[in-house]
């Protein structure tokens, strides 16, 4: 099931306003129906960097809470003032209640910022006795792995989501978890990186590296020992014997700790296919962002992960589309030639800029919708200012709800 029924409804798009960016043929993503659906417990917001994922996640979370859901929003890298507006002044890796919401019924909103290293440290600490945990925490390879490796942030975001989901099931504290995803270049990184990290940590290389430390006899097979020779030989040449030994020591202790790291990654991944999970793909009306969104939509279908729809952010609103850019520019030129009414001339050119920009965005959106005719979409107008308080988030959420 690639597209979820029930979250799109047939209502006519208004001719102007942000919806003008989306063609009429494109089904409407009804975000209110989505966040009101008690069968939906997890919403994952994905998209390439710089498209407003965090704002979308926070706005949806606020609206859901104010409509009565018990919401937890996991953000990855919010703008400082947006974080402050939600009371996220310290990074303590725990959900904190957001003050100042106007909740209906039982509605509540908790928010947290992901601390990737801390999340990793907590896995280590919770799954081994203190001494061993400390050895791992002190190891330079662990430190590099937990703080700077490509993929660790994605993995930890998923790990945290798993923890929140479990805690929600046990305590009943939340009935909706909304997740923002790491600001990666490609939206697909969120899906791919954890598996890659997991398969590496549980993979053959780790076993080979661990082998000399444990005694190679464990593996026996002749082919394998040849591989060990080539690999350790090459690694010694390239990184040097000392580093190799450090690495082997690290691998040995880590391996004993995790055993089935791959299974862990796969279990977390499988949760994303659960019936109560929905994906929202976030994009800006730019070529690159929409291309990433396309890749993601196709990938979700392949993976059987339920897509709720596309949120198109930062859309140029159009006022008075019947005044075409050409007409406006011609009018402005008339005024400029007569060297009068500079203000009106400037305003007419400004209008032309905006309509042209909107037309370009619409062409891009049309291409996306033509390629994915069944994907519901909603658009949000570009705001004149940055979002940095709850009112701003509410405004975004209202825009979303209006499609």
């Amino acid at each position: 099931m690639a597209t979820t029924e029930g979250t799109s409804k047939a209502k006519p798009r208004s001719a102007s306003g942000p919806s003008a960016a989306l063609p009429d043929s494109c089904p409407i993503l009804d975000t209110d129906a989505l966040i009101d659906d008690p069968g939906v417990n997890v919403i994952v917001c994905c998209g390439s960097g710089g498209v407003g994922k965090t704002t979308t996640a926070a706005a949806l979370a606020l609206r859901a809470a104010e409509r009565g859901r018990k919401v937890c929003v996991l953000t990855i890298d919010p703008a400082r003032r947006l974080a402050q507006s939600m009371g996220l002044t310290e990074l303590d890796n725990t959900p904190r209640q957001v003050k100042g919401i106007q909740a209906k019924g039982e509605g509540s909103l908790d928010a947290m910022m992901l601390d990737m290293k801390r999340t990793f440290d907590e896995i280590v600490i919770s799954s081994s006795e203190p001494e061993r945990a400390q050895t791992i925490l002190d190891n330079p390879f662990y430190q590099a792995l937990s703080s700077s490796f490509a993929g660790t942030q994605e993995y930890m975001a998923m790990e945290k989501l798993g923890q929140l989901r479990q805690s929600a099931q046990e305590s009943g504290r939340w009935d909706l978890i909304i997740v923002d995803t790491p600001p990666s270049r490609s939206a697909l990184d969120f899906l791919d990186a954890p598996k890659r990290l997991g398969s590496f940590l549980d993979g053959r290389l780790m076993k080979i590296l661990a082998a000399p430390a444990k005694g190679a006899g464990r593996f026996g097979a002749k082919v394998f020992s040849t591989s060990i020779g080539v690999v350790t030989g090459t690694l010694t040449k390239v990184i040097g014997a000392q580093v190799l030994q450090d690495l082997q020591t690290f691998v040995a202790s880590f391996d004993a700790l995790f055993g089935g790291f791959r299974e862990r990654a796969e279990a977390t991944y499988a949760q994303l296919q659960a019936d109560d999970t929905r994906f929202i793909v976030v994009a800006a009306p730019e070529r690159d962002a929409l291309r990433e969104a396309s890749y993601f939509v196709e990938r979700l279908a392949v993976e059987d992960m339920p897509l709720a729809g596309l949120v198109l952010n930062r859309v140029q609103p159009v006022i008075l589309p019947e005044l075409s850019p050409e007409t406006a520019i011609a009018g402005a030129d008339r005024l400029s030639e007569a060297d009068e009414h500079h203000l009106t001339a400037g305003m007419l050119r400004l209008h032309a800029d905006r309509v042209q920009n909107a037309q370009r965005q619409r062409r891009l959106a049309e291409r996306f919708c033509a390629a994915h005719p069944k994907v519901p979409a909603a658009s949000v107008a570009a705001l004149a200012g940055d979002v940095h308080d709850l009112d701003g988030l509410r405004e975004v959420a209202v825009g979303l709800a209006n499609g």
Partner: protein
Amino acid sequence: MSDWPAVRLHVVSGKGGTGKTTVAAALALALASGGKRVLLMEVEGRQGIAQLFDTAPLPYEERLVAVAPDGGEVFALAVDTEAALLEYLEMFYNIKRAGSVLRKVGAIDFATTIAPGLRDVLLTGKAIEAVKRGERSGEPVYDAVVMDAPPTGRITRFLNVTGEVGGLAKVGPIRSQSDSVMGVIASKRTAVHLVTLLEEMPVQETLDGIEELKADKLPVGAVIVNMMRKPRLSSTELKDALAGTLDEANIRAGVQAASLPTRISADSVVTALTTEASEHAQRVDLEQAERKRLGATDQPIYELPEMNGGIDLGALYALARLLRQQGAA
């Protein structure tokens, strides 16, 4: 006159969505003009350069993608980490044939995606190799190398390969390779340019990025403000639009003098234009505040306009010209 006469390696970074690939390409064109030869490299495997120049995906091979004004050539290379690793192994250790075994057990994956710093040493190492190529014979193959680098949040760690590798490898071949890379990156022959928009987050990341680069003694280049809005109103008009005190009668008279088609009512035009002007003024006001924050740095600041028709080859040439005029090349 270029602000960077001694620089051979231009590293272009910026927050996602700021258009750093576009700016890197425009800078490469700008540097190439006047008969120079420039290599434009990308390191994140997204084929952004090929899309920009509207060519087929780039192989791991330097290819001519554009000819600059008054001669000059821009070559492009999409660095594939795996290929770079195998090339490195062959070049320094003559062990390319180990490649398939290494791949089978996941060692290539380890080295290119997970090993601390190794990937970055390979990528930056490739750039340095291109910078140095031909230098010994006195005729460098490339006059300049432009790298479309990882985003601002990761750039310092990416470039400071010694720091990253250093924690793990105190001696050994990788250490000496990273030291030699650092010899160029941390010198006057390199400049790290940061692309930003006049919005809160990109500006904050740019300011943080400059501090981080400086703290690690990496050479900060220019701040390039991308997608600046065209100023359509004067500063007095903007102030009035912001305060809601635009002279409506005057606008109405202007609309009438513009003799727009009569089917569109003058009232609706006046209302629409006034709303648009007010939104524009709010945005410009925010942009100016962000521009002021950027002004606190000592780095040169170049400004590039928003390209209304989107980015095509013509737009790249226009941006290249603007960069030259402002001293970027």
